[in-house]
């Protein structure tokens, strides 16, 4: 069944086919659960004019913030982007466009995109700038706005373990947006801490079934902590 073997050996293979102007959906929340090596590979490739869909845009010098250094990102679709000075500078210069999207709407846009649902109604954002220009419809007396799904040319995902078939499991809150991102890429690439044999992850504990996954690569992770807070 080698047709199901998704493992690639190099980052060049992992991101092969990424071109200027493409849309990349990235998993992660802040710096937690981000595909560090895949982001670094995009920086190495120098791909430009990217639309990146991710809850945040990393920090200066790490995570998706790396792709700002050479101005590779044309547009970010995110819920919160306040963590890096370079982002702010490029936004104010007009070099970078941002589409602020409520966090739950962003997750649902990815989920819907991966599930073949082109759009959905939600109460979130009705009556706010997010709802401007969007179709409004009432259900049971309450107004909702129509939000469109998102799919990506690529999805880049960080999982804890994957088997060679691409079945994935996430660790703790590093799960976050990764499972939805995984479903929404035309090509979904998963970077993992460990690759195991099929069957080693019990079938009922798999978070992302391998059908969504095209490529798996074993990475090594710095796992930088954004805000370390400890109990006294």
């Amino acid at each position: 069944m080698s047709g199901f073997n998704k493992v690639v050996d190099t980052y060049e293979q992992a991101m092969a086919g990424l071109e200027d102007g493409m849309t990349v959906i990235a998993g992660g929340f802040g710096l937690c659960g981000i595909p560090e090596g895949l982001i670094a590979q995009i920086k190495t490739m120098g791909t430009r004019d990217l639309t990146v869909v991710s809850n945040n845009c990393g920090v200066d010098g790490f995570g998706l913030g790396l792709l700002l250094e050479d101005k590779q990102i044309r547009k970010m679709v995110s819920s919160y982007v306040g963590e890096n000075a370079l982002f702010e500078q490029q936004l104010l210069n007009g070099e970078l466009e941002v589409e602020l999207t409520p966090q739950g709407t962003l997750a649902e846009k990815m989920r819907a995109g991966g599930a073949g649902i082109p759009a959905f109604y939600t109460a979130t954002g009705y009556g706010t700038p997010v709802g401007d220009g969007k179709e409004v419809r009432e259900f049971n007396g309450r107004p909702y706005i129509l939000e469109e799904a998102i799919t990506g040319d690529f999805a880049i995902v960080k999982a804890w373990k994957a088997d060679t078939y691409g079945n994935c499991i996430y660790r703790h809150t590093a799960q976050n947006f990764n499972p939805m991102a995984a479903t929404a890429g035309k090509i979904t690439v998963v970077e993992v801490e460990e690759i195991v044999a099929p069957g080693e992850i019990p079938p009922s504990e798999i978070h992302t079934p391998g059908i969504y996954v095209n490529r798996v690569i074993k990475g090594s992770f710095e796992k930088r902590i954004e805000r370390k807070v400890t109990a006294n």
Binding site: G104, A123, A231
Partner: protein
Amino acid sequence: MALTREQIAMRVAKEFKDGDYVNLGIGIPTLAANYVPEGIDVMLQSENGLLGMGRYPTEAEVDADMINAGKETVTAITGASIFSSAESFAMIRGGHVDFTVLGAFEVDANGNIASWMIPGKLVKGMGGAMDLVAGAKNIIVTMTHADKHGNSKLLADCTLPLTGVNCITRIITDLAVLEVRDGAFHLTERAPGVSIEEIQAKTAGPLVVPDSVPEMVL
């Protein structure tokens, strides 16, 4: 005397009922977790995908894969569950979270809230706030009654871009507890030693003052 941040948090915590699932925003709302009354169990939801958020970790427990929605390292309590962002917001948007407590720049007499954007200043984003105010059964806003220049934050109509419409029913400020209904703020409690006149002076929107307004019990 106007309440301190900790005292506002103490008053918020008195709203919790045993068995509530609660989402606390960053700032004063988060402090409320420190004052949950004896005999009351609440379970904290963190919108990055954790139900049953615990205390901050010890140095030995710090784990980069274990954070809260403020991106701080945390622990999970026994009996916690961890899930995706879509699942997390299904809980929030589906009305399964009993209580949301969050801060605001402005609230108006129609229950509208503005909390994420000041035109002319850099806009960082709404995060999960729009989902939370659209979805929770019960929302409490905590904020100072007036800004540092003395301008009221309780208005007839919000002036800033909104986070949500017609969704706020209860406000706890450093001066008072108020309910929002029928197009007005209804004063229900005042901070110890704070006069009705001061509250009236600092409430720009329509304010209904009943004959008797008890002092808060903290």
